[in-house]
Symmetry: C2
């Protein structure tokens, strides 16, 4: 396959950002959530960021956004039918990531024990 045809970054574009994987994970785990519920699940995120990430995911047809015309407003987010296709991708990445974390830990450990003390 030719490097110029690489579409890895298409997937990457959906997933990168400090918050997108965790937003997706919450929606996959807990199903439909309203804005304030997501915010409560992620106390560290600012509203601006949450709004922005959700809009981007909506633009890519990964999440659905449903607005109820009432006051105070109510807006619900969920993984779209198409968005479900991301699940195996996230699963593979999560699995590799989990393994990688222990690989790196092991490497560093071996190094320290083997050389006893190198910086």
């Amino acid at each position: 396959m030719k490097p110029e045809l690489c579409k890895v970054d298409q997937a990457l574009g959906i997933l990168v950002g400090k918050w997108k994987p965790i937003i997706l994970l919450h929606l996959f785990n807990e199903g439909t959530q309203r804005f304030s519920e997501l915010k409560r699940l992620m106390p560290e995120i600012t509203q601006k960021m949450l709004t922005k990430q959700l809009r981007e995911l909506e633009d890519e047809d990964i999440v659905n956004r449903v607005v109820y015309p009432q006051v105070p407003p109510k807006v619900e987010y969920s993984i779209s039918a198409y968005g479900q296709s991301l699940q195996p991708v996230l699963a593979v990445m999560h699995e590799w990531g989990t393994n990688h974390a222990s690989h790196i830990a092991k490497m560093k450990n071996d190094y320290v024990i083997g050389d006893s003390l190198v910086k």
Copy 2:
């Protein structure tokens, strides 16, 4: 699985950056390459970026770096044995990315045809 245990970003950390996927792809495709060969394969990248990305991949044990003690210098890069484990991850992402590109194209197209002219 609990969101706080999500390790997707571990994988993401290896892959993000404007250049990493393409560097990896070149190394997967063409095997061992020296610095200047990689540079020639990616004329747009600056030396600083190429050096930086390669160092980061080396730190994560994804690529091997072999220095030949000669002048002018010769340094060869290749995917490490452990780095091979990334291949299925990249494959899944590439596959999803390819499909996603056409999904989005189709969506936009439908929209324009369906509504004839919006915005």
